[in-house]
Symmetry: C2
Subunit: 548 residues, 2 copies
């Protein structure tokens, strides 16, 4: 072609360059890890980069070749971080497995990904011993600990010691450059139905996502931050923070397996954490602990909450009582994961507080690199008016165009372009603020109209006696489906069916108020902390609504 080409240095976007940048420009900035062994481990980006190089050498010595998958079953910690870079940086693929999945799913996933190496924390030794015979492709099992903490014997033949492997190497090895579209890591979706499916991220997509995630309108990461990712590294790469933190040279704090309110609060305070990120359930634990012990947060000033919708009541509590800015976010495994975050525009700065809250409670606006649209049942785009709700579709540099090992494309064509259907139902307002109204499979279809289960849950959760609530569709002879509210009461609090129903009056249209309320001890959750509504629907399939 006759087009003029740019005359700029051609450097592929490599994941290794993130860590190398941190080692060179924030070399003495700390990475602090609460270890499975129980103690706190501290070292620097300079140390991490050297050890990640040794991990790359060790994996090569184990026989790994470009494209081989190195799996992990591990908490957030420095060794996991080293494997992220050591594997991806040496053209292997880091496959983070969610240890909270059913054991059979874990084995299935390892086989589906044809993992060659499995690195795991000591926590998971019993699990791995049980699963090892079923993991047919794994040649090497590596326990992520030092010689002193290795078991005397194990059912796993030739169980390797991570520190032995690292210490055997000299680090005299340079990060290679290769095609930036090469796979860097794999994360499987925790599907509630069917087999999990693998999203295969590339170096390019991960680096672009890391840039975008650090923007002021996204997570706003800087070298002045101390970042504690509560979101696990096996959950969509901890929302990209292990990449964005070295990109900006921020101090990292890894909480290990201790994600209870007390442990997290102690770590926030002792390490001067300024920014964190996690699912609502985790913040519930932190808030409950702080309220019970009358504690405050002295350095934490903002947190991203996503994974599932953050109840507005939780946002108010964190902001009003603990001075923590909540950044509501939405994403998916298939989106690396960030899609939208809720930050106000200049035009919104003068709005009354209540109007600001309503905007910030939405899932937010697309960051550059992601585009989105909503379509109706006919597949045609719907208006951005904050009222029309339809299937949410996305496209962008860090959105999948297929699943690992599967030929069928998940994409849909709209207006001549390919889009990924998210499975969420959403509205988008004129300012681009997207609000999830439901999962397409959770929406309650009452007499041809849709009732958002999330709207009902948010109202219920704002009641002081409610710990958790799920709104599910219950079969109804006349209306097809009607909402049933399933509630877990706060310990020591009283709440009757009638009080709960009365609470909805004036807060939502009358016809959307649930037909009934049932109280249970616990709502089942998926491995990633989302409510398992499928299970609830099965459990209450034969529930007789009083309106029938």
């Amino acid at each position: 072609m006759s087009s003029l080409m740019g005359q700029m240095m051609r450097m592929p976007l490599m994941i290794s360059s993130l860590l190398l940048h941190a080692a060179r420009h924030a070399g003495d900035t700390e990475i602090v890890s609460k270890r499975v062994e129980g103690d706190l481990h501290r070292y620097t980006y300079r140390d991490a980069e050297l050890r990640a190089r040794k991990v790359a050498q060790a994996l090569a010595r184990l026989g790994c070749r470009p494209g081989d998958r190195v799996a992990t079953l591990a908490w957030n910690g420095y060794r996991h971080f080293e494997i992220y870079y050591g594997a991806s940086g040496s053209q292997l693929v880091c496959h983070t497995i969610n240890p909270r999945l059913f054991p059979e799913q874990i084995a299935w996933i390892a086989n589906d990904a044809t993992d060659q190496v499995l690195c795991f924390d000591a926590t998971f030794l019993p699990l791995v011993e049980k699963l090892a015979p079923a993991m047919s492709t794994v040649k090497h099992f590596v326990l992520m600990t030092d010689r002193a903490h290795m078991p005397e014997s194990s059912k796993i033949a030739n169980l390797l010691c991570y520190e032995d492997l690292v210490e055997a190497e000299n680090g005299d090895w340079a990060w290679p450059e290769f095609d930036e579209n090469t796979a860097s890591s794999i994360c499987y979706t925790s599907g509630t139905t069917g087999h999990p499916k693998g999203a295969v991220y590339s170096h390019r997509s991960s680096v672009l996502h890391a840039y975008a995630a650090a923007l002021p309108d996204a997570m706003g990461c800087s070298s002045a931050d101390v970042i504690l990712p509560v979101v696990p590294m096996f959950h969509v790469n901890a929302w990209g923070l292990p990449y964005s933190a070295p990109l900006v040279g921020a101090k990292l704090v890894f909480p290990g397996p201790h994600l209870d309110g007390k442990s997290l609060h102690e770590l926030f305070e002792s390490e001067g954490v300024t920014f964190s990120a996690g699912v609502p359930t985790v913040w519930l634990g932190v808030i409950n602990h702080m309220k019970a012990k009358e504690l405050k947060l002295s350095t934490l000033r903002r947190t991203v909450i996503g994974g599932s919708a953050c109840p507005p009541a939780m946002m108010r509590t964190l902001e009003d009582e603990f001075d923590v800015q909540v950044i509501h976010a939405w994403g998916m495994t298939e989106l690396s994961p960030l899609g939208t975050l809720s930050k106000l525009k200049a035009k919104h700065q003068a709005l009354p507080l209540e109007a600001k809250h309503r905007l910030l409670e939405k899932q937010g606006r697309s960051i550059y690199g992601i585009d989105m649209c909503i379509v109706g049942n006919d597949g045609r785009p719907l208006p951005w008016d904050g009222r029309a709700s339809g299937d949410l579709l996305v496209r962008g540099c860090w959105v999948i165009d297929g699943y690992f090992g599967r030929d069928d494309s998940p994409l849909r064509e709209v207006d001549g372009r390919q889009w990924f259907p998210t499975g969420d139902v959403a509205t988008i307002d004129a300012d681009g603020f997207m609000q999830i109204t439901d999962r397409s499979k959770d929406v309650i279809k009452s007499g041809g109209e849709w009732i958002s289960s999330i709207d009902l849950e948010n109202i219920a959760m704002a009641h002081p006696a409610v710990m958790e609530a799920a709104a599910i569709a219950c079969p109804h002879p006349k209306w097809d489906e009607r909402p049933l509210l399933v509630v877990v009461r706060r310990p020591g609090k009283e709440l009757s069916r009638e009080e709960m129903l009365a609470y909805f009056e004036g807060r939502i249209a009358k016809w959307q108020i649930p037909d009934d309320v049932v109280f249970i001890d616990e709502i089942p959750h998926t491995a990633t902390g989302k409510m398992l509504k499928l299970k609830l629907r099965e459990q209450f399939r034969d529930h007789k609504l009083p309106t029938v």
Copy 2:
């Protein structure tokens, strides 16, 4: 190769996607322009995107083909912004020419770039009329105004009217996708010696630069900002702000030709500007105006200052008296331009104010995407200790690897990698803060030791009676070179040679104090506002130092 490839959507990084994102997600956010015609023009990103499409259509109708160069001689304004996107987005190359260059240089540059179209503001009609015959490759001259403001006649045959061209198109045209390494724009360096040389940016380099420039540790741009780029769009793409602003959906305010203190202050206040960027000279004008009229800044809270070193006294004034955070930055035409910016790390937050100031007065730290090193006379890397000073080299995704139409590579090899030599002399400290100590050609070599002309100038500029100061090398029979200080006094202020020299005592080592001081009315500047020391050195070549 056997490597596993990622399964992410492959979308080239296109400059058009920045504007398209703003039009879709910040559609009603304003772009406000002070026009050459004298009035204020307001429209939105949605309007700009539509009109940029019409510009693309119009350029195609004029016969432009992929790779053709479309030159501009224009101030910061919405029409210039439309050409940025309309040209680059349709696979043409936007060539911004600095109108402050000597007329012969402008014609030389247009010919060197083989520009096909020249778009220019009415300000430059007399200039273009004079130069047109010498611009042998330009087929179309477009005056960037509407029919009502077109001259009745012009020496330029077939002078085209920008608004006529735009209005003739229907906008029914879609932004094409093509190789992201395609050239997007060209900017020539304003060399003080020899012919100017063209840096050829690509779509990829421009988009990556736009991401990095918006990061919290860089310019920190967000949708809550109102951004006024004082730095001209003909000066390295206004430091990338016409790309970063739509990336985040920030309101843009273009000052047109009016860059005096009064005009800028009025625009800051009337449009609620929160963030600006420009060279020190411009801020001198704004500060002088505000002090004279006892004015404040009610919304402007931070500004990037670069282009040449910001005198510490100016930083103190802006911060202490006007509550504006100064972000000291360093870059070059060859770097798109951002290389480093000065922001504190977490570890610096508790430092005493004076120590913070010393860090923030440095040119700052590399943003991810740029790496740097300093090398000694032997070409070997020097330590990062804040003391060793050497030639500053850089490499990265938005650094040139050659100049337009030239075969010779400007790059140098260090440690097996290719680096671009900046021509600056610098130190880097252990935290990665780089400080320019001089241009390699401006350093004063006294008895084998180097004296930084910039250090001397900063001290002089802190004196209340000094408006501007330049330290230059003056030949000396014993020491080879000794510093001569050239000073412009502040209007109405008294200052003697002896008072000036006494001011240096205790502020710098005795042997570095200038041997003499001369007072002049004005220091000559380059087209981009840098002091023309070459000219000063010529002027004072025969100056007799009292120490000789």
